[in-house]
């Protein structure tokens, strides 16, 4: 099954999991499954009108999905999807 890697700042909203195997045909489907399973994660990944937030990047293996087919990018069994949010460091 395709694997999704949860970044450190978001693990607290995903049952403290580092990675999850999820059955999906596209990146969008996989992320939808993820936020269905972990409701708290939704507002961190999506805006209120359901768009992926612009400070959260999603990669299929090492490629940014913005330069593939965005959320309709197909995923294969062996693929790794990474969520990479911006982190600034010390201060809020």
């Amino acid at each position: 099954m395709p694997k999704v890697i949860i970044p450190t700042p978001l693990r607290q909203y995903a049952g403290k999991q580092e990675a999850l195997d999820l059955q999906a045909k596209t990146v969008g489907e996989l992320l939808q499954q993820l936020v269905t399973q972990y409701g708290d994660l939704r507002r961190h990944l999506y805006t209120d009108d359901g768009k992926l937030r612009s400070f959260v990047n999603v990669y299929l293996n090492d490629e940014d999905i913005r330069y593939l087919q965005k959320e309709s990018t197909p995923v294969k069994e062996s693929d790794v999807v990474s969520i990479v949010p911006s982190i600034a460091g010390g201060r809020p």
């Binding site: 400070f55 990047n57 990474s82 600034a88």
Partner: protein, 394 residues
């Protein structure tokens, strides 16, 4: 030469050279073909600006000074405090209370008296950034907040200076090189910052002390390679590092043709208000939600008077082990599914470390129908300051 022709006055008349002391000091570089005399002279001629002298700035400053980077600029306005010492290895216990720049200069001078160290004791702002950055060849970003990240990026793009980027959270780090002529910038990676309060900060989330050591060392390494023109830099690659798993991953970074800063038709032609851009009003971070608050002294008075007050501690169990004020531990993340454990008829005072998470808890409980619930203003930190100093601060 004909009259009126522009004769440029070149700065360095004598060819640069290393003194015998410098030759001895840099011996292990000089005997390496990848650096050699030519490379060491490049390092000596190089001018690097470090934004921030904290966790990332520590290895950056130490290694670049040791390597013989001829001119190091440091930008910071902070004072060393005890919580810095766990990771900001430039400073010692004796430096607590001193300005970071003063302490850093002393340490770097001791490490390498051959180099020039410039101090810029100021907050980097849209007004001063271009002037501060202009004299330097390379900028290394070791800041700790989003507004300064975007400011540094935009200033580097406008001035055409490479931005050696590093960023950390808990045990995860990112590093790359932005703003090289043909490479992406920070805005290509993240066009917009997260709204305040959505991403936890290190002050709330913590950071493994050695992590900035590793990421800052990677930044120092990239800086040195840029100066030498040797090897391959991280341009176009985002290095993502997980210290817990000891795993490095590389993600492709592309230059966004529509990037407002470095795209084909840039719309960003001068520096902007980065606090406004990041949605932050004023310098102090406001609590994410406004909720009814109670002062620590007022809570103490109620408790002393024997009033019925239920203290709800919404921190994590590992924080409870550091210190507590006999509250009922129910971490914020579990509140929704465990709210039934609370009695809405009783007066509830929620607290966390600083009052931010408990404000969210109070907001949640009020929306869930709890009427008598208050946030302890300033959290356990304020309790320690104003009521009971025997409660340790962290």
């Amino acid at each position: 030469m004909s009259k009126g022709s522009a004769v440029k006055n070149h700065e360095a008349a004598a060819p640069p050279a290393l003194s015998p002391q410098e030759i001895l000091r840099y011996s292990r570089h000089l005997i390496m073909p990848e650096v050699g005399m030519e490379g060491q002279l490049k390092l000596k001629a190089a001018k690097v600006l470090l934004i921030g002298t904290g966790g990332l700035g520590a290895p950056l400053g130490l290694y670049l000074a040791a390597a013989g980077v001829g001119r190091l600029g440091l930008v910071d306005f902070d004072v060393v405090d005890f919580t810095n010492l766990q990771r900001q290895v430039t400073f010692g216990t004796k430096d607590v209370g001193r300005p970071k720049l003063e302490a850093a200069r002393e340490r770097l001078r001791d490490l390498n008296p051959e180099i020039q160290i410039d101090l810029h004791e100021t907050k980097l702002t849209s007004e001063n950034a271009l002037d501060i950055l202009r004299p330097y060849d390379i900028v290394a970003d070791g800041t700790d907040n989003f507004p300064t990240r975007y400011l540094v990026n935009d200033a580097c793009v406008l001035l055409g200076k490479p931005n050696v980027y590093g960023s950390i959270f808990r045990f995860e780090g990112q590093a790359t090189v932005f703003a090289l002529a043909d490479g992406p910038c920070y805005r290509c990676l993240y066009p917009e910052p997260p709204p305040p309060g959505l991403v936890p900060s290190c002050a709330e989330g913590g950071v493994l002390g050695v992590l900035p050591g590793i990421v800052g060392s990677i930044q120092a390494n990239e800086t040195i390679k840029l100066i030498l023109g040797a090897g391959e830099t991280l341009k176009g690659r985002l290095l993502v590092f997980d210290a817990l798993k000891m795993r490095f991953r590389e993600l492709k970074l592309r230059k966004n043709p529509d990037c407002p800063a470095c795209g084909t038709k840039p719309t960003l032609t001068k520096l902007i208000d980065y606090y406004e851009f990041c949605g932050i009003r004023g310098e102090e971070a406001q609590p994410a939600v406004a909720v009814p608050e109670i002062e620590p002294k007022e809570l103490k008075r109620k408790l002393d008077a024997g009033e019925d007050v239920f203290i709800l501690d919404v921190r994590e169990p590992h924080e409870y082990q550091i210190c507590h004020i006999n509250g009922y531990l129910l971490p914020l993340g579990d509140l929704a599914k465990r709210a039934h454990e609370l009695d809405s008829a009783r007066t509830i005072v929620a607290h966390c470390r600083s009052g931010k998470r408990s404000a969210e808890a109070v907001d949640f409980l009020r929306k869930a129908g709890f009427r008598k619930v208050w946030n302890l203003k300033g959290g356990i930190l304020a309790w320690s300051d104003q009521v009971d100093p025997s409660v340790p601060k962290y």
